[in-house]
């Protein structure tokens, strides 16, 4: 047993932290969050130059063949820096999904371009609000909700009912009959409804549905957990710094037990969330993560990291309530991540079954 990241992971983290500090400082993250398009091509391109979008992709398809655990430590840094953009849906979820459930042709056609950042793929696999039906003649009708960054995606992977079966299909985002309608969320994420009005799908566009959903959920849940952990870590750092320097009534507020004890709980919440995340991601990278491990990591972090964000607000006081303060963006990122790829109730139910509770 060893909790230390490998030296390659350490390098990845320190490079990422340095890079994001320079190219995505809090003011920039805030600016992009407030922008309705909210996509920074330049940043996205620079990330691709560092090989981030290709981290999960094998070398023969233009990537560097990293493990899911490597991606997780990277996404944690992005959470820490409130980095905007479709990295999780495209470079984690869609990538993992195509690798596991795509045909050779899908992979060859998409993954090299995804590795360079040229192609962006988003996913609509969540059951919540999904009414998509694929009829016997290959027509897709209905809508999916909460599709992140659909407006900048070149392709979409969507789940649909097909009679007895569930289908997962890959289709170009601009196919006729596909409409992307923006939803407006409090956080920086750009969410869309994807509505399909008789969209034609051919059998070559089908992906192996069971694997696709399982892999996507696992990679997505872990990546969202990593975002939460990174953001919560940043809240902890900011709160401790604030507690040391903000003076009220002649003393730094961190000299009072109420603040001290709140900070002690922040540490516990962040450390435990990160520990569960790494353990689950390590097992997933070893090809052996039971679904309950991932569910525990995400369920735990959802509660713990939101608690961190809320305590952070209490420690910061009024200043944390301003739009220009970095705190709320971290909080909203945690909130968004906590409900994507399975909300708390969904993951708790998965754990309930795993610990043997009969329905």
């Amino acid at each position: 047993m060893d909790f230390r990241p490998s030296s390659a992971q350490q390098l990845l983290v320190s490079t990422a932290r340095e890079f994001l500090k320079k190219h995505c400082p809090p003011e920039r993250a805030q600016q992009i969050a407030l922008d309705s398009r909210g996509f920074d091509e330049t940043l996205w391109g620079r990330m691709a130059e560092l090989g981030w979008q290709g981290l999960l992709i094998p070398p023969d398809l233009g990537g560097s063949g990293g493990s899911l655990l490597d991606v997780i430590v990277l996404v944690e840094e992005m959470g820490r820096a409130s980095t905007p953009g479709p990295f999780v849906p495209s470079a984690v979820v869609a990538t993992a999904l195509l690798l596991a459930a795509g045909s050779a042709d899908h992979k060859k056609r998409l993954l090299p371009a995804m590795a360079t950042g040229e192609t962006i793929v988003s996913v609509a696999l969540d059951d919540a609000g999904n009414t998509l039906v694929l009829d016997a003649r290959g027509r897709l009708r209905g809508r999916a909700l909460f599709v992140e960054s659909a407006h900048v995606a070149h392709a979409l992977i969507v789940a649909a009912d097909a009679g007895d079966d569930r289908r997962v299909v890959l289709l170009p985002a601009d196919r006729r009959g596909v409409e992307r309608r923006p939803l407006d969320a409090i956080g920086p994420e750009k969410l869309f409804e994807v509505a399909c009005d008789g969209v034609s799908v051919v059998a070559e566009e089908w992906l192996e549905p069971a694997t696709a959903r399982r892999v996507a959920l696992q990679a997505g849940a872990l990546a969202r957990t990593a975002e939460m952990v990174g953001a919560a870590q940043r809240v902890l750092e900011l709160a401790v710094e604030h507690a040391k320097t903000r003076v009220q009534g002649g003393r730094p507020i961190g000299g009072h037990q109420a603040i001290q004890h709140a900070c002690a709980d922040l540490v516990r919440d962040v450390d435990a969330s990160r520990g569960l995340l790494y353990a689950a991601a390590w097992r997933a990278s070893e090809g052996a993560a039971p679904a309950a491990d991932v569910a525990m990591a995400k369920a735990y972090a959802s509660e713990a990291c939101l608690a961190v964000a809320r305590r952070g607000h209490q420690i910061f006081g009024a200043i944390g309530y301003c739009e220009e303060h970095p705190l709320h963006l971290l909080h909203k990122r945690i909130l968004a991540a906590s409900v994507d790829c399975g909300d708390l109730a969904t993951h708790l139910e998965q754990i309930a079954r795993a610990i043997g509770l009969r329905a």
């Binding site: 407030l34 919540a128 407006d184 409804e193 009072h256 209490q314 009024a318 944390g320 969904t346």
Partner: protein, 392 residues
């Protein structure tokens, strides 16, 4: 003991409900956002409608144009307005200011400002907080210097709610440097637009504006606009603190009750009401809201009877704010993936009210005395525990 409302109170509640039925809320344009305290948004039009009914001045003495109704009429009005989600944002501030003017205002304030309050035309912002004086008001730096029949105010206020859309500021200043720590403070009623006053919005984490900061650059104010005797402002503020805390949060219980009802409707509509755990969480919230209401009514009776208050309003305020946060969290859990959608978003559930409530509620345990400061108050002033040493 007696926990019911009197016949007169019940009749008045019916009257308010009838008014709300006859005057659908969408008729009243809004000027400023709802900050989630329970008082709804800021609407001058709605305030004027209340003024027309005589409800703003109803508890004032007849000699000041009121009807001398008992204090509980104000509670009844608050309850009904909050349950309906009406935009009565400035009302508590108007009442508190009017009471201060009636108690110790100058003739000019009584003549000029009081009738405007009664009509719902004059509303107020509080210029108390400053950048380096958050929960420690005594550290404030804004000064008012006497210059013949005027004072000249210079300083910087922050976190003033609705300052940009109100008509007057209640500006708390230091009028003497020599006096001992808690003396030498004075309050002024300063009309918005007075030269030298610069009011700038602070955008909050909701994306909206509720707070403002106000720069006062040699603002000249006639001496008749001082509220209360010179140098005694801090004591006046302290004396009014329990009352302020009370009136600043009383309406929260019915407002949360309204949100709870919406969540119940939503749970029924989506079938989530069949979930045993959710049923219990919603039921437990209903009990907490009932408990919250009891704490406020207890404080109301003490205020009404002029009985001593040491911790009762502080406890009620802490609990109101924390219960609001808890209800918002429950709502977010209930909405799941829909939770982050904003008011006005396509597909938003419960009109996006819950995400707004979640965000605004974060500020409630900070504004008007943090939960930490207030818990210490309860322990030290209410229970007699020893105070912490003030300095390291």
């Amino acid at each position: 003991m007696e926990f019911g409302f009197s016949a007169a109170e019940q009749a008045f509640a019916d009257e308010v409900r009838a008014f709300l039925r006859d005057n659908p809320l969408d008729r009243f344009p809004l000027d400023g956002m709802d900050a989630g305290y329970g008082s709804g948004a800021h609407s001058r039009a709605f305030m004027k409608a209340l003024g027309e009914r005589g409800w703003i001045s109803m508890c004032w003495p007849e000699s000041f144009g009121g009807r001398a109704e008992p204090m509980f009429f104000k509670l009844v009005l608050f309850e009904e307005l909050a349950l309906a989600g009406a935009p009565f944002g400035p009302l508590a501030g108007s009442w508190q200011t009017a009471d201060a003017i009636i108690d110790y205002g100058t003739e000019r304030l009584r003549r000029e400002v009081l009738p405007a309050i009664a009509r719902g035309e004059a509303t107020f912002w509080q210029g108390y907080s400053e950048p380096d004086a958050g929960s420690d008001l005594l550290a404030l730096k804004t000064e008012a210097r006497r210059d013949d029949d005027h004072y000249v105010i210079r300083g910087h206020k922050i976190w003033s709610s609705h300052a940009g859309i109100a008509t007057h500021g209640l500006v708390f200043t230091r009028t003497s440097r020599e006096a001992r720590r808690s003396r030498g403070f004075s309050m002024f009623v300063v009309p918005n637009g007075t030269p030298g006053m610069d009011i700038r919005p602070i955008r909050s984490l909701t994306g909206g504006v509720y707070h403002y900061e106000v720069f006062l650059d040699d603002v000249r104010v006639p001496v008749e606009l001082m509220l209360g005797p010179e140098g005694e402002g801090f004591q006046a503020l302290l004396n009014g603190l329990d009352s302020d805390r009370f009136w600043g949060r009383f309406y929260k219980a019915p407002a949360l009750e309204r949100v709870l009802r919406r969540l119940v409707d939503h749970a029924n509509a989506t079938g989530a009401s069949a979930d045993a755990g959710l049923r219990r969480r919603l039921a437990a919230m209903a009990a907490e809201l009932a408990a919250l209401r009891v704490l406020f009514y207890r404080a109301a009776c003490l205020l009404r009877d002029g009985a001593p208050i040491t911790y009762e309003t502080a406890v009620a305020k802490i609990y109101a704010d924390e219960t609001g946060q808890k209800l918002a969290r429950l709502g977010m859990d209930l909405l799941g993936p829909w939770a982050p959608l904003r008011p006005g978003s396509h597909e938003a559930r419960v009109d996006g009210e819950i995400s707004h409530a979640y965000l605004t509620s974060l500020g409630h345990t900070i504004a008007g005395g943090t939960a930490e400061v207030l818990r210490t108050t309860v322990a030290v002033r209410g229970l007699g525990l020893p105070a912490e040493p003030r300095k390291a």
